[in-house]
């Protein structure tokens, strides 16, 4: 045997091999692509599976041509056989991974020319202009995606509708789940008002980019790749952990279910796709393991910033792009990761994490305090909420024959301090049967606004359901909604009266005061003046009246009916200085109302 004594590695870790790692990574992306193709085929028809195939094929062909072109430019006669050199370069540059990732980050409706432009930009400018594989400072796929979304933004919002069982699938430019959530400012712990459910969100059955939606599959692929030492686990784990921690805290601060909120927030859009496929790119992330962790936390911070405080729907691509730019700086700063420095670095890492949570939490807290009713699901913002339900049993009391079904409607009526309805929220199982769901969903918003204009007295006096309060085809549920609303208000006795105040001076015309008094167990809980306000002769007195009316009404609140009936003059707070006669008129109106019969 011949002994080799030169400079050599004595043993080598089998898993540490670039070619092997790249092969596994390619296989992972191919899996993702196949799953995307199967999903498109099953959910929307074979045409769209073919479309997925064509997009990838075009992408790969474009990149192959670019590879060959660039290799031809670089070819020198000393490199050996020309064609062999070109093919070797194609194999060594791994541009096909870029092309595949770029294709998977685009929606199915992407026009072919946009795809070609994206590939040319990504491979030619972002990859080869910086020296090719291993030397590019930005992730080519991410920058290609960003380039086309900035230049051809309009063409990239064509998705297939998620649930198209009833209709022929056509490309629409409708809202995706991320844009819907973005409009809702992301603070939702339930997707009931959207067509997508949380399980669909994690399984990937909704409209989005080709490969980004399959969160669970992506995580499984990531796990295998980490186990095979293809990618580093640190950026992904620190990225997702930071987002999870922040969303959990924000959920608690906002009073919504933190777990559901986190699941929706992380599962929607490209957070998982970006974390598993782009953040782990070794070339564009920092070198040290600590740097990679820092990179993940910073990227998470940026994603949260983009999602919560920018008008742009998706922040993941932008934050990874920004982190690509920062990666060399992180490498530069972390010269050594000896435990001595490590302790200091842990402080940095954890303070950055805490900062991310505190920053977002702080802004959230500030937003709640500054504008209490800004969040629709925040009951504290309302003066009072009435809760009522109507179940199948309620069916027997309604006038028409009704088929008992499984529906249970819960209604929350949010009112302000004058008991004017601010909002009505529905819950429970609402018209889940068949195609009625669509009818109900389509009309419920306008129906609720009709109820809102009716007000509490109006709701209490509805008897036989008129046409404008019925959704045709969903009569039972319409009845049940009325019953639920009336059930919510059942403890409330409402008295109404109208008196005309005769003003002493000739320059003022007499004016009517219509008052609504809400009594619960003999105590006046709220009052509302409807017609009289603002018409007390006009001029400065009207202003005085309006300014004082709130306090005057508040003074009567909490008094018993007995106390009010025995009054001869208005109590101190209820006498508006400068509008004394009107104040007396108000008391007379209240007394008149209470003498009468309650409504309904």
């Amino acid at each position: 045997m011949k002994f080799i004594t030169g400079n050599a590695t004595l043993v080598h870790e089998k898993k540490a091999n670039t070619a092997r790692q790249m092969t596994l990574f390619t296989m992972a992306i191919a899996c993702l692509w196949l799953i995307a193709m199967i999903y498109q085929g099953v959910a929307h028809g074979a045409r769209y599976a073919l479309q997925t195939f064509i997009l990838m094929a075009v992408s790969q062909l474009t990149t192959f041509l670019i590879d060959i072109l660039v290799a031809s430019f670089r070819y020198q006669t000393t490199d050996g056989h020309h064609v062999r050199y070109l093919l070797k370069q194609y194999g060594k540059q791994y541009s096909y991974i870029t092309a595949a990732l770029l294709t998977l980050s685009l929606p199915i409706g992407t026009p072919i020319y946009v795809l070609i432009v994206a590939n040319i930009f990504a491979t030619m400018l972002v990859k080869y202009a910086f020296g090719g594989f291993g030397a590019n400072i930005f992730n080519p796929a991410i920058f290609g995606r960003l380039f086309v979304s900035l230049t051809f933004g309009g063409t990239l919002s064509t998705f297939l509708p998620p649930d198209t069982s009833a209709m022929i699938p056509t490309l629409t430019t409708g809202a995706t789940i991320t844009s819907v959530l973005n409009q809702m400012n992301w603070f939702v712990d339930s997707l009931q008002t959207t067509p997508v459910q949380v399980a669909d969100l994690w399984l990937g059955f909704y409209a989005g980019a080709l490969g980004e939606t399959f969160a669970i599959v992506l995580l499984a692929i990531w796990g295998i790749l980490v186990w095979q030492r293809v990618i580093n686990w640190r950026p992904t784990v620190f990225f997702l952990f930071t987002i999870l921690l922040t969303t959990m805290s924000l959920g608690l601060i906002r009073g919504i279910n933190p777990l559901s909120f986190s699941l929706i927030f992380i599962g929607s859009g490209s957070i998982i796709f970006g974390a598993t496929m782009f953040l782990t790119d070794p070339v564009t992330s920092p070198t040290t393991h600590y740097g990679k962790a820092l990179y993940g936390v910073l990227a998470a911070f940026l994603v949260l910033l983009f999602r919560f405080y920018s008008s742009y729907v998706e922040g993941v691509a932008f934050s990874i792009a920004i982190m690509n730019i920062l990666a060399p700086t992180i490498d530069r700063l972390i010269t050594n990761i000896h435990p001595k420095e490590m302790r200091k670095n842990f402080v940095w890492l954890s303070s950055l994490l805490v900062f991310t949570v505190a920053f977002n939490g702080g802004i959230s807290l500030y937003a709640i305090n500054a504008n209490p009713s800004s969040s629709s699901s925040e009951p504290i913002g309302y003066y009072r909420t009435f809760l009522g339900t109507a179940t199948t049993d309620s069916c027997s009391v309604i006038e028409e024959a009704c088929i008992p079904d499984l529906d249970t409607i819960t209604a929350s009526i949010h009112v302000n301090e004058r008991y004017r309805i601010e909002a009505i929220e529905l819950g429970g199982k609402v018209a889940t049967l068949g195609g009625w769901s669509n009818l109900w969903q389509a009309n419920i918003t306008s129906l609720l606004s009709t109820y809102q204009t009716l007000g509490i007295p109006g709701i209490q006096t509805v008897n036989n359901l008129p046409n404008d309060l019925t959704i045709t085809g969903v009569t039972n549920s319409s009845h049940r909604l009325k019953l639920a609303l009336q059930d919510a208000l059942k403890t409330l006795a409402t008295y109404q009266a109208s008196v005309v105040v005769a003003l002493p001076d000739d320059i003022f015309t007499d004016w009517p005061i219509s008052v609504t008094v809400y009594v619960e167990e003999g105590v006046v809980v709220a009052l509302d003046v409807v017609d009289g306000e603002g018409t007390s002769g006009g001029g400065s007195i009207a202003q005085i009246w309006q300014q004082g009316l709130g306090l005057a009404l508040a003074t009567y609140r909490g008094l018993t009916v007995q106390e009010i009936m025995t009054m001869t003059i208005p109590p101190q707070g209820a006498t508006i200085i400068g509008a004394t006669v009107s104040s007396h008129g108000l008391l007379t109106a209240i007394q008149t109302a209470l003498e009468g019969q309650p409504l309904a």
Partner: protein
């Protein structure tokens, strides 16, 4: 928490892959046995026998000039005189003493040692007599203690059994226990830390003593380095940034057993355990061979070589000694022998994956050092501190692109040393 940012790779030569060779020792004894009489530092030993002298198994034949650390004959016969043979550790031809084997294996009278309750100086004299100092692994640390007996900063003794192989199971536990007792007595401590790998081998015997504090570590490639074992069990506080700390001393398990065996039987070390492994041999083996056996003979027992061209080295895969031929004799200092398929370096492009930085035992960033070297950026190199590199080569082991990171770090080391020397000159 720090472990979050370190990588772990399994040790490639797990004990379960290595066979215990059940062979008759006598087939390894040659007609003429050559015993090296040169110390690893290249200085020849002082001969204690003359030509045509009769020697026995266990006769003292040579000793170091200043310290009188002895070596012993492994056969009985007639001294033939000096010959020059290849010494793999020194890397050139050195003096060996040739002994004509008479085939009788007559034993010299056993050595006599003082009792365990004797004063420290007497214990040290006895240990000196065992010949353990000239043995592999244990030699250097014990030598330092023998040279500076007043060194009292020592707090821990680590006995590294991470390179456990089946051969050790054949030795009685009493030998190990006796060795430990002597060590503790000499060094004035109360317990030793024994480090064993968490493999499926039976280790119950080794965990029964109160003098021995056993740690089970995962058999990762880092853990074959004493420095990493010390870092893992005591934390980085015990270990200086690089090099040995004077608070900890590390021995290998097999040497403590050898020390115990000499102390209990009185017969000096005439045999040594050796391991032949790697993909380049047909059947990896572990066996105990007489000193003076030829490596070629052992390769025959291991079934011969697999490749026409291969890389052979002595010792653990890190800090190893590459050999240029296998025509050498086994000495007490000969560590394990491995034959591997050579790997081509500079095969691919660096992807900045950080594997080298994640495994470096002294927390360097080889990839950054390589870049700074390419850019000729001395200021950056000074920050990256390549001078603390241990030359262990773990960065090369884990590099997916097969890059020669170690070479870059070595060059950077030189550059930084020159820069530091220049700076010192300017200061003066």
């Amino acid at each position: 928490m720090i472990a979050l940012f370190r990588d772990r790779y399994p040790y490639p030569y797990q004990a379960k892959h290595i066979h215990n060779a059940e062979i008759d020792d006598f087939q390894l004894y040659l007609q003429q046995i050559a015993i090296p009489i040169t110390h690893v530092n290249g200085v020849e030993l002082e001969l204690l026998v003359k030509e045509n002298d009769q020697v026995f198994v266990g006769s003292k034949i040579a000793a170091r000039k200043e310290t009188q650390f002895p070596i012993y004959s492994s056969v009985s016969g007639i001294v033939k005189g000096k010959v020059m043979l290849y010494h793999p550790i020194i890397g050139r031809k050195t003096a060996h003493l040739m002994i004509e084997n008479d085939g009788k294996y007559l034993q010299a009278s056993p050595l006599t040692f003082c009792k365990l309750d004797a004063p420290k100086e007497a214990l040290l004299e006895s240990v000196k007599l065992t010949g353990i100092i000239e043995n592999k692994g244990v030699g250097n640390p014990l030598y330092q203690i023998l040279e500076n007996p007043k060194n009292s900063a020592l707090e821990h003794i680590v006995i590294n059994g991470m390179l456990w192989h089946g051969n050790l199971e054949k030795f009685p536990f009493d030998w190990f226990y006796l060795g430990v007792q002597w060590l503790l007595k000499i060094l004035g401590l109360t317990f030793v830390d024994l480090v064993l790998p968490t493999t499926d081998l039976d280790k119950t015997t080794w965990t029964t003593s109160s003098l021995v504090n056993v740690h089970f570590l995962s058999p990762t490639i880092q853990h074959i380095l004493d420095t990493q074992v010390i870092n893992t069990i005591y934390g980085d506080t015990m270990h200086a940034f690089s090099g040995q700390s004077d608070k900890v001393i590390a021995f290998t398990l097999e040497n403590i057993i050898q020390l115990g065996s000499v102390l209990s039987t009185g017969a000096p070390i005439t045999k040594t355990p050796i391991e032949i492994r790697g993909v380049g041999v047909q059947k990896p083996i572990a066996l105990t061979v007489p000193i003076g056996s030829l490596m070629t003979k052992l390769i025959e027992i291991a079934g011969g070589y697999v490749f026409d061209e291969a890389l052979a080295y002595l010792g653990i895969p890190l800090l190893a000694k590459i050999v240029s031929e296998d025509q050498f004799v086994i000495t007490p200092l000969t560590p394990s022998y491995a034959v591997e398929k050579p790997l081509t370096l500079n095969a691919d492009v660096c992807t900045h994956c950080g594997a080298c930085a994640g495994i470096c035992p002294v927390y360097l960033q080889p990839v950054e050092i390589k870049h700074a070297l390419q850019q000729d950026n001395t200021q950056r190199l000074l920050k990256l501190q390549p001078q603390v590199c241990l030359d262990c080569g773990l960065c090369n082991v884990v590099c997916p692109a097969n890059l020669d990171m170690m070479d870059a770090v070595k060059k950077a080391k030189l550059k930084v040393k020159v820069a530091l020397a220049k700076a010192a000159m300017v200061k003066k």
